[in-house]
Amino acid sequence: MYEGAIQDLIDELGRLPGIGPKSAQRIAFHIIQSERVDVARLVDVLRTVKERVKFCTVCGNITEEELCKICRDPRRDNTMICVVEESKDVLAIEKTREFRGKYHVLGGAISPIDGIGPENLRIRELMVRLAATEIQEIIIATDPNLEGEATATYLARLIKPLEIKISRLASGLPVGGDLEYADEVTLGRAFEGRRTLEG
């Protein structure tokens, strides 16, 4: 254990995802040895990102405006919604250029052992969207792992009474994986071959 400020920094860094105690220590010492202006820039960027970046009030994607770029785009198809876990999945799917509809970002997947239930995700917001607009098809693109599948099943059952077509990305995606790791070709193919879900 170090004293005071340096230990506070190590503790804060260690709370970030993917950073273990050793990396936290390495980054902390790097910061201490950095020029004052470099550190000031980092502080600025952190503050700005927190001030400016927020979540799209419609779809939950990250944006600096009220609505995200995709929700603002009049050329996008309003009759289709692709449901994903995180904003980074929107990016992955956009790269495939296979999808011209809109998105809905849940903010995670159902995982009871982590205390994440449907009420902790943006599912209520999705249902409000479905009730209010002209949506004809929902594509559920949650991750191809246990929690993603459970979330897909839960959504399919919830949406079924609305008589909207529900489909799930085709298999072929690496099982147990993250959507963001799938390469563009595989992900694109999974979109084309999506299968209708029975709730």
């Binding site: 273990g20 246990l146 599948e149 897909a152 147990g176």
Partner: protein, 364 residues
């Protein structure tokens, strides 16, 4: 397949160990606590991604270090594979194959196949059902590495579901997990039944050679009625049970149906072995089971590494001979013994002395 090189770093008693290995028999001689079993434990870890001695990985990491490392070169007829595994105790392990990081350590399954015999094998006969489930599931994974993913997804689905049951969750929240437990569970039961149907005749034959007299059989005892080789039927039956036992499950906060509640029932003559067989009979059965798994893998076209961990002192002459015969046909065998006198005289091989974490080859 054989290991041509093994390195351990911060693994149990070894700060740094470098071993050149050869096909055939290698014997590690050392008193208890000198570190001989740690060597075979590391090889088994590469094969099963868990220790045969401890349930969690923390004891594998040498005190004062955050990670332990196992590195091995696997020599196949057509290619060499370098596997590297970083064991992190509390965090997820990391692995590399031929220098390339892999997404999950599970990708190591199937690269090293090893079958071990140890004094703990008696637990197969006398221990809890969990011992026998682990036995059959390890065999499934050796035969078909993709089963590792199915088993681990199943176990996680059960955990997720139990967590919901404990919070007395409503049925809508449970249904997605019912489905996953049933789907993965149905596959596991089907795979266990299939492997058991192939293992049993081999087991019977070996047991008859070792022990004669009474006929043996292995029955699959399931939490579902009449489990079959058809995984979809099993899935359907698990869902049926789940629906029939809702209130009991909520009451106990536990998933009550599925392969995690099943057992292998060993039968000798007209009796269930557990609680009936003598010490000698129990050993014969345990040994026959392990010998049968080795044979089954060979029938699959694999050449598993054989590990005999401190097992000779437990066995009588005839059973020792069975193991020696096997050691002579296996492509590579590792044996640990406390003293040289425990070694059957018929056994030849390269000998290593293990003392205070030092491994030194003995002159032939």
């Amino acid at each position: 397949m054989y290991l041509s090189q093994l390195s351990l770093k911060s693994f149990r008693s070894y700060e740094n160990l470098e071993l050149k290995l050869t096909p055939g028999i290698s014997i590690f001689i050392g008193r208890n606590g000198e570190g001989k079993t740690n060597i075979v434990e590391s090889i088994l870890y590469l094969s099963y991604l868990s220790s045969h001695r401890v349930a969690n990985d923390l004891p594998l990491v040498q005190l004062g270090n955050s990670s332990a490392y196992i590195r091995a070169t696997i020599t196949n007829p057509d290619r060499e594979v370098l596997v590297e595994l970083e064991i992190n105790g509390e965090r997820a392990n990391r692995a590399r194959i031929n220098q390339n990081p892999v997404r999950s350590q599970r990708e190591l399954f199937g690269l090293v196949q090893a079958i071990y015999f140890s004094p703990e094998d008696l637990d197969l006969v006398r221990g809890d059902p969990s011992e026998r489930r682990r036995f059959i599931d390890q065999l499934l994974t050796l035969r078909s590495p993709r089963m590792a993913g199915i088993i681990s997804d199943y176990e996680r689905a059960v955990k997720q579901r139990n967590s919901l049951l404990k919070s007395r969750s409503g049925i809508e929240a449970l249904i997605p997990w019912d489905k996953q437990v049933a789907e993965f569970g149905g596959k596991i039961i089907a795979a266990r039944m299939k492997t058991l149907s192939e293992l049993t005749p081999i087991f019977n034959e070996i047991y008859r050679e070792i022990s004669a007299e009474k006929p043996t059989t292995i029955n699959y005892k399931s939490s579902i009625e009449e489990p079959t080789l058809n995984h979809e039927e099993n899935t359907y039956k698990i869902l049926e049970r789940v629906n029939a036992t809702r209130s009991a499950e909520l009451e106990r906060g536990l998933t009550l149906s599925g392969p995690h509640r099943d057992d292998l029932i060993l039968v000798l003559g007209d009796h269930i072995v557990k609680g009936y067989a003598s010490h000698g009979e129990s050993w014969s059965i345990a040994l026959s089971l392990k010998l049968a798994t080795f044979q089954l893998l060979q029938n699959d076209g694999l050449s598993p590494i054989l590990i005999l961990d401190d097992v000779f002192s437990e066995l009588d002459e005839e059973r020792r001979l069975r193991l020696i015969e096997l050691a002579q046909v296996a492509e590579q065998t590792f044996i640990t013994v406390a003293v040289e006198n425990d070694l059957p005289k018929e056994l030849s091989g390269i000998r290593f002395n293990v003392k205070a974490g030092q491994v030194t080859p003995l002159a032939p």
